[in-house]
Symmetry: C2
DNA sequence: CGGAATCCCTTGGGATACTG
DNA sequence: CAGTATCCCAAGGGATTCCG
């Protein structure tokens, strides 16, 4: 499988340094590390990014998500959706019917995360075999 | 703080669907979800991406990394570096001196991760205040 | 159907002490 | 300096049960 070159910066990793300069002098100002930490603490958990990627531009019910995300438990789907809703990444719409129906969709902000999810997926596709091989060699020792 | 528009796909989240189509029919073939899971399980932990971002294109000693990554413990730095080395993302070079000196640098593969780190940091910069606000509103209820 | 609540085991990871 | 080894606590998260 061939994939377009990784998004960017493979040979120009100056972006972070650039950002770090822009943050110097801020009183207690966060550096790139804190930024990465922040977003990782938010969507770097086991399920958040996966829920976002699965949701995509669709509107899905709770049970739809449960089916489309292999391995996730009821509990974790609930918790993850609540957190995403709280962060303004997901909209929850409950219809007063019986049986109840609840629909989820990404907000505009949540949709911007799809780009990140895509970038990550592309990276994985492009490199997982290389990593697998590197592991095998490492473990051989 | 003003930042360039989020990298991509804010309005064209078709990438994942596209990829998913390309994977259909593969015997037990992984979907985008599994790809995301894979890379998240690898560099989505508490420190990996941060070590990569900190390392950048520099060569750093163990103690340098320890100083430049606030909050990381000796133990976690060691474990994280070992894992990154095993995955072929980091090169470890030990010099037979006394006192010992060990240097770390990214491999070419590891350097491709900087793009992801940068993308994530950019996203955080662009959106963290919005998220903060959304949280405050959510919690107010 | 879409949760909330409880139970409980596993993992992550910090603190500390020791070593080549 | 650059680790390794232990201890131990807290959080993560699965399974199950109950509920409106």
């Amino acid at each position: 499988m061939t994939v377009a070159a990784p998004p960017a910066a493979a040979t120009s990793p100056a972006g972070l340094a650039e950002y770090e300069r822009s943050c110097e002098g801020h009183p207690g100002g966060p550096e790139a590390g804190r930024m990465i930490r922040e977003v990782l603490d938010r969507v770097g958990d086991k399920w958040s990014l996966l829920v976002v990627a699965t949701l995509g531009d669709d509107v899905m019910r709770f049970s739809d998500l449960l089916r489309h995300i292999p391995g996730i438990s009821q509990r974790m789907l609930t918790l993850t959706l609540r957190q995403l809703e709280r962060d303004g990444l997901v909209i929850r719409t409950a219809y007063a019917e019986v049986p109840p129906r609840v629909e989820y969709r990404l907000t505009a902000l949540g949709a911007t995360l799809i780009g990140i999810a895509h970038t990550i997926a592309q990276w994985a596709i492009a490199n997982h075999s290389t990593i697998e091989q590197s592991r095998a060699e490492y473990d051989a020792r």
